[in-house]
């Protein structure tokens, strides 16, 4: 009781300062900073093949890195990519460590309160599991009360444990979680279906399969700092994404990086088709 009262007092004190920072007018601070510095810092994944990963020479490459390159080119600035984790990507953006985040992030309502997720969304994925063929899982219910490996920071950990009673063991990195699966410490690895598909396609997971029907299909969003949403930077990124869809650039990148074609991208291309050229 005493403790919650002191927290109350603290939160009141902080609440006053927090309310002072709310602003309405566009300052375009981050946009101006990027342009005057001549360099944009983009946060991408480095452990999420093939969206953002390290190649044999240690460089971070991938579909999202290519998207970041497009952005830097259009702005006429240099590009620096910074690897981020699911659990720190929004904080990096908030603290100004990165100017833009393209890091396989699902677009969720609570995340929109923290960072400026621009529309339209650039990709989508659902939740699925990678599980050993030997177990022949049939339905999500098979996960009940079983240890299931996950990744700290994925929003569906909560859904899968609440809806199906799976015991989520969440690791800080994908590598640790998948190692735990291979060590047979859990019966499945719950993650984005698109990532699991590309892992399976890599041939390194011969004994594994993606046996369930994907759930909770959720669009991905790239994000600018919250204050830049609806200002120059946010509007620019919306325009970039629109053009990526309309020109078929994302479909092209999907093919380049060996990602299974998703119906979402095809549908978006159709949705944003130019009414004159029809493409």
């Amino acid at each position: 009781m005493k403790q919650s009262l002191s927290v109350l007092a603290l939160s009141l004190a902080i609440g006053v300062t927090a309310s002072g920072t709310a602003s309405a007018a566009c300052t375009n601070d981050v946009w101006n900073k990027v342009m005057s510095r001549g360099k944009i810092v983009v946060g991408v994944k480095a452990d999420y093949k093939p969206w953002g990963f390290r190649n044999e020479s240690g460089e971070v490459v991938g579909m999202e890195v290519d998207m970041a390159k497009d952005v830097a080119e259009a702005m006429g600035v240099e590009l620096e990519v910074v690897p981020v984790q699911s659990s720190n990507r929004m904080q990096f953006l908030e603290q100004g460590k990165i100017d833009l985040m393209i890091a396989t992030m699902s677009d969720r309502p609570d995340r929109r309160q923290i960072v400026g997720i621009t529309q339209p969304n650039y990709y989508t994925s659902g939740t699925n599991v990678m599980a050993p063929k030997a177990l022949a899982l049939k339905s999500w219910e098979d996960l009940r009360d079983k240890p299931v490996c996950g990744k700290q920071g994925a929003f569906y950990n909560k859904i899968v444990s609440e809806r199906y009673g799976a015991k989520i063991i969440a690791f800080t990195g994908n590598a640790e979680a998948k190692q735990a699966l291979r060590d047979k410490k859990c019966i499945a690895w719950v993650y984005d279906d698109s990532s699991i598909m590309s892992d399976l396609a890599s041939g390194n997971y011969g004994e594994f399969e993606m046996p369930l029907a994907s759930e909770d299909d959720n669009p991905w969003g790239l994000a600018v700092p919250k204050a830049e949403l609806g200002c120059v930077f946010g509007n620019f990124m919306s325009g970039m994404t629109f053009n990526w869809h309309q020109s078929g650039r994302l479909i092209e990148l999907e093919k380049k990086w060996g990602i299974q074609p998703t119906a979402y991208l095809a549908k978006q291309k159709e949705r944003f088709a130019d009414w004159i050229s029809g493409q």
Partner: protein
């Protein structure tokens, strides 16, 4: 009263998206924090106990007449003191974990007999234990040679001298340094998150990943809990120190 506090924080979360104290009004999140707290306490208590035992035994072995025993203790200290606890946790759980016996509830799963919690206790105890050996050695060396000689001339065995003469005196000298090391140990338990031990940090990180608006509130709680937890430990240790004090001996 409770209801009004909950309502207050629910409203605060709506007006200030960075200050969502979700664990104060959502019983599910409060329960997760409770579980995390229990796990942190469990880890802390077990590691403190084991590391002190390791320290006492190790310091005794260090005074052994047998060269290889001394070398073994020295090797143990070097290994655990010179490597980061984070790497030790990963190494123990993933590398050594493969060589421990397992059982299988369903024909595929190989549940190791030593769980991730078990490995965290083992690895953190050995980590802090290595420092404790050195701390107790310093205490032992502070006991005057003549005291040991006096005990020796009374016909006490080596173990008896250690048990009844050296350790009681050395322990008093060691307590302040031991205090420091145990405080560090309690704080190091947060690193067990890398092998997915569901302690307090793990639960808080999970909560703010599920509710990204709750991050600051989770950080605040983390500080509050550790200030209190370490405060209790330090208070207990200094009380112990005072009780063990021999007038005229040591500072």
């Amino acid at each position: 009263m409770l209801q009004s506090i909950q309502d207050y924080f629910r409203a605060l979360a709506e007006t200030h998206p960075h200050w969502n104290f979700i664990y104060l009004y959502d019983p599910v999140q409060a329960a997760r924090i409770g579980e995390g707290l229990v796990m942190t306490l469990e880890l802390s208590v077990l590691c403190v106990l084991f590391s002190v035992v390791i320290g006492v035994v190790g310091a005794w072995l260090q005074g052994s007449h047998l060269t290889w025993v001394r070398r073994f203790v020295q090797g143990y200290i070097q290994f655990f003191r010179n490597t980061p606890p984070l790497i030790q946790l990963l190494f123990f759980y993933f590398a050594l974990g493969q060589f421990t016996p397992t059982y299988s509830p369903d024909g595929w799963l190989e549940v190791p007999v030593i769980s991730n919690v078990g490995w965290a206790v083992i690895s953190l105890s050995f980590f802090a234990g290595a420092f404790n050996v050195e701390i107790f050695r310093a205490g032992i060396e502070a006991v005057p040679e003549s005291t040991v000689e006096a005990a020796d001339s009374l016909g006490m065995s080596r173990l008896q001298i250690y048990r009844y003469v050296l350790l009681p005196l050395a322990f008093r000298v060691s307590l302040p340094a031991l205090n420091n090391n145990l405080v560090n140990l309690v704080k190091t338990t947060t690193q067990a998150i890398v092998i997915a031990v569901p302690e307090l940090l793990y639960q808080l990180v999970s909560i703010y990943n599920d509710y990204s608006t709750a991050q600051n509130a989770c950080m605040v709680l983390m500080f509050v809990v550790y200030v209190v937890l370490v405060g209790i430990l330090v208070m207990g240790m200094s009380r112990w120190e005072r009780r063990l004090r021999i007038p005229g001996y040591g500072g």
